[in-house]
């Protein structure tokens, strides 16, 4: 996926919304900017499949040696898949943040959260500001 086609949260998650069998599904990952800022990731605690999450709830954690960062759910819904490959291959987060490095898929229960997301251009602007 190209980042230009994704939506971004203020907290650096990306979202791709697709429709599967009439049901809207959000695929979620971490932006390249976020992964680079975290440096030397050592562990990810993936969300359990079946878990119900609220919008903006922390549902996953990524850890570097001396820091823990929350990953927030951009939309409310049920976790229907988590990327188990990450557990053994955290490099996917940095090597392929928008493809193989996806974190989880959520069956959207409430689309309200989507309204708070921004497009890639707006997100890049935010990143530029944060770098200062």
């Amino acid at each position: 996926m190209k980042p230009e086609n994704l939506l971004f949260a203020k907290t650096h998650e990306w979202v791709a919304v697709t429709t599967e069998g009439g049901q809207k599904v959000a695929t979620i990952g971490l932006s390249q900017f976020a992964v680079e800022a975290l440096t030397d990731l050592v562990f990810i605690e993936l969300p359990k499949v079946g878990r119900q999450v609220a919008a903006e709830e922390s549902f996953c954690e990524v850890e570097s040696v001396k820091a823990v960062s929350d990953v927030y759910a951009p939309v409310a819904g049920e976790v229907i898949a988590a990327n188990d490959q990450l557990a053994d291959n955290l490099e996917l987060l940095s090597n392929s943040p928008y493809e193989e490095g996806w974190i989880a898929r959520i069956k959207i229960a409430d689309e309200a959260g989507l309204k708070n997301l921004m497009d890639y251009a707006a997100y890049q602007k935010q990143c530029a500001e944060e770098s200062h």
Partner: protein, 519 residues
């Protein structure tokens, strides 16, 4: 000359059939083990421990000890940890069989000397804190925090029963606080709310006001705080917490700055813990033990853990309990009046119960008692005066080449920032810390408190002489001026260079494993 042969792992030194300690033959009629222990609970083999001779064991650990920097060997300005000299006399005293070989369930009549010491220590700690009652039970500072928060929870439970109000659920913690504060609050079932601090290190009073409401149970404050200043609005903070119905908890990590100068009970604290392994010179033991006695006001005293030590006076059996006697027993002669005795008081129905097994970390408390008795009232005050003198002197020398955001004065420690060095030359606080090791100094605490960027937290303690402080300041000055590459690769002269922390965390190897591990 380094001996690497004997610093191999114990398991690599092991040879089948070797042994060190030998036991006497069994002198009672022996029965087959299979008659005494059910077969399904009997191990086929004892655990696969290494097999070594006594000289090997001694050489191994003696060599390992030499790979450490310690207070006995080096200046150890580890901020917030108060790495002061550990008096050798106190080690000897703690080893006396009359203290070291007491079983915790001996009858009270056989431990009167021990109980008297503990009783008097309770009194001393109350006097130093300006609070009314004391529990010696908690095992470390963080354990003391947790115990005090359980006390607060029990107090508010009773209050809400009386008033019919809702139970208070929030604990306020400044962003400069030790991580133990919020962690303790969670363990005690409270929600942590973070309050901001200003660049000066003082609490942001506006932010405090925003968070103050009738859900606030406890405000946890470290004072002097973690950047080493005395909270300028301490009285007002305490008053506002009290007006909102909350309690003020003092994290006593920095008591070394204010012994005999100011007392938490007098500046508004309702509860506090001590770190006797910091303030009162208990050795840090390579990570512990500590102890975490707490003192509280009279209204919280009924909730303290059981048991507490009480003095039972004469024939009247009047129990003083935790209502502090305003004039504690100060006799030099340890023999109390012939009719007095000391007892453990368990009959405390409102108590939160136990926070551990047995009485407490008595060995640490004993050393604290010795330290307090060695110094007396004037001596304790001079400890703090000299700790503050040393810190300010070092600050006066360091601030010219390493910015200290909080200003020109401090209490017992100060926090410099390598933030500008980082942006100008790419030198991080960690680089400076590592390079200091090359010159025979332990590093200061780095990256704490979180409220200061690239923090370098320096606490010299009263132990150090002016010569040592001068040498440290000169070294630090030289280090800051070195080429960044030299610092990035530091340390250069230690047993090992920088370890790969990422590898350790990604592929954890937490025990020794080999193909013959079961040998």
């Amino acid at each position: 000359m380094r001996n690497t042969r004997d610093t191999k792992l114990l398991f690599e030194l092991s040879e089948a059939g070797r042994r060190a300690h030998r036991l006497p033959a069994c002198d009672v009629p022996e029965r087959p083990v299979s008659e005494l222990v059910p077969a399904n609970m009997l191990a086929a083999e004892p655990p696969a421990l290494p097999e070594l001779s006594e000289p090997q064991v001694v050489r191994h650990f003696a060599n390992l000890s030499q790979l450490n920097i310690s207070v006995d060997t080096h200046f150890y300005p580890l901020g917030s940890c108060t790495m002061k000299y550990n008096p050798k006399r106190n080690e000897r005293i703690a080893r006396l069989p009359g203290f070291a070989d007491l079983h915790p369930y001996q009858p009270e009549s056989t431990i009167q000397g021990m109980l008297q010491m503990l009783y008097e220590l309770q009194e001393y700690l109350q006097e130093i804190s300006g609070l009314d009652a004391c529990s010696l039970q908690p095992a470390a500072g963080a354990h003391g925090e947790l115990t005090a928060l359980w006390v607060a929870a029990a107090y508010f439970r009773d209050e809400s029963l009386k008033t019919g109000g809702e139970r208070r659920t929030k604990v306020l913690v400044p962003d400069s606080a030790h991580g133990t504060n919020p962690a303790s609050a969670s363990m005690a079932g409270f929600t942590t709310v973070t309050v901001k601090t200003l660049t000066s290190g003082a609490l942001d009073m506006d932010d405090l006001a925003r968070h103050l409401d009738d859900e606030v149970a406890v405000f946890m404050i470290t004072n002097p705080n973690t950047v080493g200043i005395f909270e300028p609005n301490m009285r007002e903070i305490a008053d506002r917490i009290h007006q909102a119905g909350g309690l003020v908890y003092l994290d006593g990590a920095n008591m070394n700055a204010i012994l005999g100068i100011a007392r938490p009970g007098d500046f508004g604290a309702d509860m506090q813990h001590y770190n006797p392994h910091k303030t009162f010179s208990g050795p840090h033991g390579g990570g512990g033990p500590g102890a975490g006695p707490i003192c509280v006001t009279e209204k919280l005293a009924p909730y303290l853990p059981t048991p507490v030590v009480v003095r039972v006076e004469g024939r009247e059996s009047r129990v003083e309990g935790q209502k502090s006697n305003p004039t504690p027993s100060l006799a030099l002669d340890p023999r109390p009046s012939t009719l007095d005795r000391y007892a453990l008081d368990y009959a405390r129905p409102q108590s939160i119960g136990r926070v551990r097994a047995f009485f407490g970390n008595v060995g640490v408390l004993l050393r604290a008692y010795c330290y307090i008795r060695t110094h007396g009232p004037d001596g304790l005050r001079r400890v703090s005066e000299n700790a503050v003198l040393n810190a300010n002197y070092l600050l006066s020398r360091v601030k010219h080449f390493l910015p200290v955001p909080q200003g020109d004065r401090c209490m017992h420690e100060f926090v410099a920032s390598a933030s500008k060095l980082k942006s100008d030359k790419g030198i991080a606080a960690m680089d400076i810390a590592k390079r200091l090791l090359d010159f025979g100094f332990h590093a200061p605490t780095v990256y704490f408190p979180l409220s200061v960027k690239e923090a370098i937290m320096i606490e010299p303690t009263e132990t150090e002489s002016k010569e040592t402080l001068d040498a440290f300041a000169e070294t630090l000055f030289n280090v800051v001026g070195e080429a960044p590459d030299v610092l990035h690769d530091a340390p250069h002269t230690t047993t090992i260079s920088r370890p790969d922390d990422v590898r350790a965390a990604r592929q954890p190897v937490l025990t020794y494993k080999s193909s013959n591990a079961t040998a």
